[in-house]
């Protein structure tokens, strides 16, 4: 049905009186795109394996939401906490006291900030990007975080997003800047509470300046009636390190766009992802690492376990530009299918224009090693325990890459809750 949708009018949202908070001329650019853009179909290369019919046939309302208790969503007790409900900052649930060396305001308040204005939308494509444009036109709020120069943040920052209500939409926009020589850890999480067929359409723009180190964990745990399309648009300057771990454990239809432009020399970029699907879920991870400068390295490891009738997509692009010599870029995607109807579409793409580089990519998809299951059962483990042990060993390679212990423990808790894993 969505394949037949040719209307140039995107009628997806009931703004319900809410006006987008970003600058008028920027919103105007987005509106222009939305005037002529068509809803992507499976003929659109970037959406080839992700059908959007379930989204395009609905209307979502921008609506304030109320959450009373965030104790189940707090990954870290000590972290500086920001809570966004349906894309709007809830100051009553967020931390009041700011750590030293950090600016943290809502987007609404950041409109007057020079740095904010100079960087907003800098690397984010609007042309041909319907969801970026919808977000830009309608963004209700988000967080503006700056880790100031030379600051080493001891405590983490946790950015908790909660979706709630019936067919609501969150157009959350976050801007995060790690200034020169700063060091920080941010965990961005997505949950839903009493939500049905609601939609997170988020954009997070990240700028990692010279010699800065930013470690980022993205945890996705929205209910399986909900939709989630989000983009991290990242820019790295020289001598910086950026690590992002994307852990997707729930959500009906999830699409993650991770775009990283490595613009300076001597950078290190790590992208790790784990996705565990059951039922009728669909998770699509599109990643892009663009090596625009020489002497950098990137490491990408995505692993998925797909069960029942669920489907997963992995599309990892790595570009190495003409003058980007001495690049080490490694990409690996491994998948385990647990049922006959589970599906995975995996497409690694390497485009290398320089000639003195070390690049590799690998993709494997298979079933659980039955010989290993037999071996464990022959020692007394039940079939269920044996399978779980092997699956958790498989995924553990990615979970181990989460540096922060509190996040690791939280993820194990979710795995226990959702898949009945013993920790």
């Amino acid at each position: 049905m969505s394949e037949l949708l040719n209307s140039t009018e995107i009628d997806l949202i009931d703004t319900n009186g809410f006006v987008g908070v970003l600058a008028a001329d920027y919103k105007q650019k987005a509106s222009k795109v939305l005037d002529t853009i068509q809803f992507p179909t499976t003929r659109t290369e970037a959406w080839k394996y992700t059908r959007l019919g379930k989204i395009s046939n609905k209307k979502f309302t921008i609506q304030k939401g109320t959450i009373s208790d965030i104790s189940n969503y707090k990954i870290s007790k000590e972290a500086y906490t920001i809570v966004l409900v349906n894309g709007m900052m809830d100051t009553s649930l967020s931390s009041k006291i700011l750590p030293d060396g950090v600016i943290c305001t809502s987007i609404k308040e950041a409109i007057s900030n020079d740095k904010f204005n100079s960087l907003l939308g800098k690397n984010l494509n609007l042309e041909n990007e319907i969801f970026h444009s919808i977000n830009t036109q309608n963004a209700t709020d988000g967080s503006f975080i700056v880790i100031k120069e030379k600051t080493t943040l001891e405590k983490s920052i946790q950015l908790i997003h909660i979706l709630t209500g019936e067919r609501t939409i969150s157009n959350v926009r976050n801007i995060i800047i790690s200034e020169k020589s700063s060091q920080a850890h941010i965990v961005q999480s997505f949950f839903s509470e009493n939500a049905n067929e609601s939609f997170t359409n988020g954009v997070t723009e990240i700028f990692v300046e010279e010699n800065a180190h930013l470690s980022f964990d993205k945890i996705q745990f929205e209910e399986d009636t909900c939709f989630h399309i989000s983009t991290e648009q990242v820019e790295q300057a020289k001598n910086s390190t950026f690590t992002i771990n994307t852990i997707t454990l729930n959500g009906g239809l999830v699409r993650n766009n991770l775009n990283i432009e490595v613009k300076g020399q001597n950078c290190c970029t790590n992208l790790n992802g784990a996705y565990l699907l059951k039922g009728n879920q669909h998770v699509d991870n599109h990643t892009m690492v663009d090596h625009l400068a020489p002497k950098c390295e990137s490491h990408e490891l995505y692993k998925g376990v797909v069960n029942d009738k669920s489907t997963a997509v992995f599309n990892g692009k790595v570009f190495v530009r003409k003058d980007s010599q001495k690049i080490n870029a490694f990409q690996s995607n491994a998948n385990v299918l647990l049922s006959d109807e589970a599906t995975i579409n995996s497409k690694p793409e390497l485009e290398i224009y320089a000639d003195d580089v070390k690049c590799s990519h690998g993709s494997t998809t298979g079933q659980l090693n039955e010989e290993a299951v037999f071996y464990l059962r022959a020692r007394g483990l039940s079939e269920k325990s044996a399978r779980k042990l092997i699956i958790s060993a498989f995924i553990d390679e990615v979970i181990k890459k989460i540096d922060n212990d509190e996040v690791k423990v939280f993820v194990f808790g979710l795995l226990h809750k959702r898949f009945d894993w013993e920790i």
């Binding site: 090693n369 010989e371 464990l376 022959a378 020692r379 483990l381 039940s382 060993a393």
Partner: protein, 250 residues
């Protein structure tokens, strides 16, 4: 302890075991020898419960229980242990963690309490010493990066940890040099009691110098065709299997 009567087993329509009979009592060590293709590994696989094999006739009584009726894990929980000929590598699954889980599932099956961390670690130290398995290897992933000898020693380490009633050693000596062989055999001998029993499946007489059997059986064309004492093994070593084939033809 185990009584196998008239066991017939096939795989992919081909019959491998053609009426095998074997009686093993507690405290005994039985060796099973035979030429390639006779059905030695099939016997081990069928007893352990490999689902690829179809049992077309016969019974296996294991201490009063119908073994063929039990799930793979329940056979292990009732006290059956198979030391694999080709132990598989399972990356990411820690050797000691899975053993602890297995031990606890066995205890749960028997209605016992789970083992606590301290006692478990003590057990690991004790048992890994029996096969001279470095404690470091014990805590790595199952068989990952292990040499052939280390894999076989790991099998005996697991056997020591799980303390089975009946251990089936499937060509445990294959691929081992004399030193490794000695360590493995030593370990098996240390675990012998009057309450448990061992079936040693082997191609070569050499292992039986170290693990001395009470009975030696020749498995030929899916059946036990000759039984004797350890002297029989020596005779096979000297004369091969041809003389048995001739004897049967008469």
């Amino acid at each position: 302890m185990i009584s196998i009567k008239n066991l017939h087993a096939s795989i992919d329509g081909k019959e491998i075991l053609k009426g095998l009979n074997l009686e093993v009592k507690a405290g005994e060590v039985h060796a099973i020898m035979g030429p390639n293709g006779a059905g030695k590994s099939t016997l081990a696989s069928v007893l352990a419960g490999r689902e690829e094999y179809e049992i077309t006739a016969g019974t296996v009584d294991f201490d009063g229980k119908d073994l063929l009726d039990l799930k793979i894990e329940d056979r292990a929980r009732e006290g059956l242990f198979l030391a694999f000929q080709y132990p598989i590598e399972i990356p990411g699954v820690s050797n000691v963690n899975f053993l602890r889980a297995a031990l606890n599932e066995i205890k749960e099956y028997k209605g016992e309490d789970p083992i606590n961390a301290k006692d478990f670690l003590k057990l690991v130290r004790e048992k890994s010493a029996i096969v001279e398995l470095d404690a470091k290897l014990a805590s790595r992933s199952v068989n990952e990066g292990f040499s052939g000898g280390e894999k076989k020693r790991n099998e005996i380490f697991q056997m020591a940890m799980l303390n089975p009633k009946l251990a089936i050693l499937d060509e445990t000596d294959s691929g081992l040099d004399i030193d490794a062989l000695r360590i493995v055999a030593n370990g098996v001998n240390k675990l012998k009691t009057s309450e448990n029993a061992t079936i040693v499946i082997t191609h070569y007489q050499r292992l039986l110098d170290y693990i001395v059997p009470d009975f030696v059986h020749v498995l030929y064309d899916g059946k036990i065709v000759k039984s004797g004492t350890k002297e029989l093994a020596l005779e096979l070593e000297e004369r091969g299997y041809d003389w048995i084939k001739e004897e049967l033809a008469l």
